[in-house]
Symmetry: C2
Subunit: 254 residues, 2 copies
């Protein structure tokens, strides 16, 4: 996984950075900056960015810089309408195909999420949550569906992770995971789907609330450099976003 094409590694790195919310919404990713940060030529960076644009993870108008799309209420609604449909389908398909080992892993993830919630360790919770859903959907025997779901995650990621790190959640969203596990044991595919859909709906409602809050209070602190309309005139200096990457930046040459 570490080898392969340079552009594919850059793609993976950018993808992970996006999922971790290491880029500000609205932030412009400039080819030459990233290239110098990685110590490569602009070429593979260009390819990686174009691929992310093709997947909808980044937005780029014809002749302008590529930006990470800010989350709006409209986009959020669209995203969750599709997520509900697709992840529900994956869950339903996965039910009859899930193996004993997979089910064991799922329950282990639920346990870890419980523990993380009690420790108020959001980071670990989110990681276990991702693994839970991925392991569940992974059993659906439909790689195409899986790819689509992952591309959707990539589009929510930047917004999702950023908000969750700030928010203290006294809410219990692990109940739906437990419910899903029970339904999996029963073999009730509809119930599995319903549990996953409820999980998504619950989580989505919470995030929508946070989004509304952030929209009302337009960046009181240094955060959120760009609003929904047009990006503010904050000019980013070269190499600024380099710190957001894994910094494999081999000895800034030049």
């Amino acid at each position: 996984m570490a080898d392969a094409n340079l552009q594919q590694r850059l793609y993976q790195a950018l993808r992970q950075a996006l999922l971790d919310g290491r880029f500000q919404p609205g932030e412009a990713l400039k080819i030459r900056d990233l290239a110098s940060a990685w110590g490569t030529s602009p070429m593979p960076v260009r390819a990686a960015l174009q691929r992310l644009v093709a997947e909808g993870a980044l937005e780029g108008e014809p002749q302008r810089s590529v930006r990470v799309p800010p989350m709006t209420e409209a986009r959020f609604r669209q995203l969750f309408e599709v997520r509900l449909s697709l992840e529900g389908l994956a869950a339903e398909l996965a039910c009859p195909r899930v193996t004993a080992e997979a089910l064991a892993q799922l329950e282990a993830e639920v346990a870890e999420m419980d523990a993380a919630l009690q420790r108020r360790d959001i980071r670990t919770y989110l990681a276990a949550n991702s693994r839970f859903h991925l392991a569940l959907y992974g059993a659906c025997d439909n790689p195409l569906l899986l790819r689509l779901i992952e591309s959707l995650w990539l589009q929510v990621g930047p917004f999702f992770n950023r908000l969750f790190t700030e928010a203290d959640l006294n809410l219990r969203l692990n109940g739906f995971h437990d419910e899903a596990c029970r339904a999996l044991r029963t073999g009730d595919a509809r119930a599995v789907r319903h549990a996953v859909e409820q999980d998504l709906r619950y989580c989505g409602q919470y995030l929508a609330g946070l989004l509304r809050l952030e929209a009302d209070a337009p960046a009181r602190k240094s955060g959120a450099a760009a609003r929904a309309g047009r990006g503010a005139s904050t000019r980013t200096r070269p190499g600024q976003s380099a710190s957001a990457l894994g910094i494999p930046s081999r000895a800034a040459r030049g």
Copy 2:
């Protein structure tokens, strides 16, 4: 639409060629060939191909030529599972949002399809069919969903169109379109979804049958150059696939 970036124009051209089934499944698209066919440098072609790979319309292993993926039963199943879910969702969402003009267009398309069927004009039928579904889904007020559906069409396209041009269809799949229109008038979203799903299922079942037939009879004539396993040793001469394009090939220079 005709202007914009070179790579975007190439992308659109390739996309259309793919939708029209002008490329053989399994055929390898080589950068330099397409570039010389268009009279451009290999660079924008590379970008366009990579974008199509990112969307799943083409498949490409790391260091080898990009190919149009052959349709297999597994892939077909995966594709239609997702299509059913997504297009059903789009139809359901579109129902309460469809305008009077859109509905008029939909019924006009149905009429045209009827006429085309009686004339056994498959070409016109397919075009009207595309317009019908696109117009319906277009009312769903979810551009993201629309993009996903179009990318799915792009993946079925090469297979879909090729088979339909060969097959004489005495089947009546216009009934579901009519049913959808009636449900739209009633405002019964579930019924609209059901009609569209039935349409897809019916069409999919037919195509699956043809696929099975083609799989059993492995290319008795000159068609189908490559099978599912490994591509045959048919070595394509440069410029062969150029005829499949719009041939904007400006005076082969050199």
